[in-house]
């Protein structure tokens, strides 16, 4: 604002008008922004049936990286990918496929990833066998024909990672008591999420389905360690050799690491005579 000399009143009105206009704009844009932010938040949720192309970054990162150009769609030789329309529940313009309609054919040269100009489909994926588009889950164990004792096995047979992503585990058929069940078991480290099993499932609605990883997988707490894994990593037990167990042992018994329980003839080694009497009752051994 450039107040002109000699008309202070006019410039005050203009200034006021300017402030009003600015406030009005800020409100309008703020309102729009709030709406858009809510919409954007909603469209982060990928519906379970929409599977991203191979090499797609984690959904959160993908939505910031994919510029929705559709080159992956164009370079897919099997034409399985489509860009989400505004009315579809996938972030508008982003690529996805529905396994039950057209599963990924797992091209060895991965043309969709090569075509991506931004790396939303990660160019470090060179081996399609390492793709993690999703994870097959045998959702319906009540209607799966193999669970019913039949030898359908179709999901097992069509799997491109044959005998590694899906294996058949034998179990006794409790219904007949003498036959076997061949239970399809999916192994997440080998499954690429291509969706061939879901496509091929002969049921009216597939019993085995491919879900995005964050839906299909559980995750233990970050602090959680598996003792046997840690032991293997370290090459030895990470637990300090037991000090003599003194808690809740049967009367007159003692425990030694590696030997188990034994009658307590002598006081445990290392305990100075008389020390036991000073301890709280709970630590004196024997039942409480």
């Amino acid at each position: 604002m450039n107040p002109e000399p000699g008309n202070g009143k006019a410039s005050a009105t203009a200034r006021r008008q300017f402030l009003f206009d600015a406030a009005r704009l800020a409100c309008g844009v703020g309102l729009l922004g709030a709406g858009l932010a809510l919409y954007a938040k909603q469209s982060r949720a990928l519906p379970p049936l929409a599977i991203r192309p191979p090499g797609a970054l984690k959904e959160d990162e993908f939505l910031g990286a994919c510029i929705r150009c559709g080159l992956c769609v164009r370079d897919c030789p099997y034409d399985i990918l489509s860009l989400a329309l505004p009315e579809e529940p996938v972030a508008t313009g982003t690529p996805y496929f529905v396994a039950r309609q057209k599963p990924c054919e797992m091209c060895e040269d991965i043309p969709c990833v090569k075509a991506c100009p931004t790396g939303a489909l990660n160019h470090r994926l060179k081996d399609i066998g390492k793709a993690k588009m999703g994870l097959a889950v045998l959702v319906d164990q009540e209607n799966c024909l193999n669970f019913l004792g039949l030898r359908c096995d179709i999901c097992y047979r069509v799997c491109p990672v044959l005998d590694r992503a899906i294996t058949l585990e034998q179990r006794l058929n409790p219904r007949t008591g003498k036959h076997a069940l061949f239970i399809p078991v999916v192994h997440s480290e080998a499954c690429t999420g291509c969706g061939k099993c879901e496509k091929a499932c002969p049921l009216e609605v597939a019993a085995i389905k491919v879900y995005p990883l964050d839906i299909a997988k559980g995750e233990p707490g970050k602090h959680y360690r598996l003792g046997w894994v840690e032991q293997q990593k370290a090459g030895k037990s990470l637990v300090a050799p037991d000090t003599p167990h003194q808690y809740n042992l049967p009367e007159g018994m003692r425990y030694e690491s590696g030997k188990g329980l034994s009658p307590s003839d002598a006081p445990p080694a290392g305990t100075p005579p008389g020390a036991a009497a000073d301890r709280p009752r709970a630590l004196q051994g024997g039942k409480l």
Binding site: N2, A40, L63, A65, I67, R68, G70, T92, T118
Partner: protein, 301 residues
């Protein structure tokens, strides 16, 4: 003087001469769209993709820098291909004028032009008033949302990319958004979307702030104040300084909002305007001849 807009130019120059740039723009818009459609419709893959990123003849990448800016703010570093594409596009528009994108390429331009034309025909006046600066607020909003959400939030609703992608990959419900903007421009606000709100236009106006190719009111002395150029110009405020020499301004239209559409050139019976180059390092403006207009007077244009 005849009442119709451009009637004088039509009488003196003939239909073709008084519509040449309009025809050229429609040819450019349709031609670009045709190039994109040739692949999916006829299987001739000269250009793949859409306006956010395209790959021509498997060698020329072109990236929309506005979308890429959002992606960068969402903290994703793209592959080199996308960066090179954005560099080429930025360099091109920095030379020929940022908003050349708006009037020569953007698929929303025919929609908004149609609304403006019909509005004129039906004699619809008035409507909401929103400052033309609103687009910068929306630009800030789009960039802010990208940074805050880590996603391309604006691209969920950006009518420009939605429409272009829709025309090539399947329209879906995009038509409803485009129709809404058409009706908004027709009934609520003249040049509402392209001239007041579109953040992409705001972005490109900044890109072309110092561009070389400009419309110049070279023969402004011949202006007979018929106002036809103001009526056809979707950014009418850019004309006055150059045409009337406000504050001693030279004859070159310097605003980043001029989209070099050329309508003022062809609609002028006196041939006041022409395309030209910005005079490099123009001399400091001479003494003001016309006093600076007050903001209120500026708005009425």
């Amino acid at each position: 003087m005849s009442r119709g807009i451009g009637a004088q130019a039509l009488a003196t120059k003939g239909w073709l001469k008084s519509h040449q740039w309009l025809l050229a723009r429609r040819a450019s818009q349709l031609g670009i769209l045709a190039l994109f459609l040739l692949g999916p419709l006829a299987g001739v893959w000269i250009v793949k993709g859409n306006l956010t990123f395209s790959y021509t003849l498997n060698m020329l990448p072109l990236t929309d820098p506005f979308v890429l800016a959002q992606s960068l703010l969402a903290r994703h570093w793209p592959e080199t291909k996308a960066l090179i594409g954005a560099g080429i596009v930025l360099a091109f528009y920095a030379l020929v004028g940022g908003r050349v994108f708006c009037s020569w390429v953007c698929p929303m331009n025919p929609v908004s032009d149609a609304a403006a034309w019909l509005r004129e025909r039906l004699g619809i006046r008035g409507g909401a008033h929103v400052s033309r600066e609103a687009r910068y607020w929306l630009l800030a909003l789009a960039l802010l949302l990208a940074a805050a959400s880590g996603t391309l939030a604006w691209e969920l609703v950006n009518p420009v990319s939605l429409l272009h992608r829709g025309l090539i990959f399947g329209l879906g419900a995009t038509w409803a958004l485009v129709l809404a903007i058409f009706l908004f421009d027709l009934f609520v606000m003249k040049d509402g979307w392209c001239g007041h709100l579109c953040p992409m236009g705001a972005f490109y106006s900044l890109v072309g702030k110092f561009s070389l190719l400009r419309v110049r009111a070279t023969r402004r002395a011949a202006c007979d104040d018929c106002l036809d150029c103001y009526v056809v110009c979707p950014e009418a405020q850019v004309i006055r300084p150059a045409l009337k020499g406000v504050d001693g301004a030279g004859p070159t239209i310097l605003s980043g909002h001029c989209s070099n559409c050329g309508r003022c050139i062809e609609v002028c019976a006196k041939d006041v305007f022409e395309f030209g180059l910005r005079r490099p390092l123009a001399a400091a403006p001479a003494q003001p001849r016309v006093p600076r207009v007050s903001p209120a007077a500026g708005k009425s244009l």
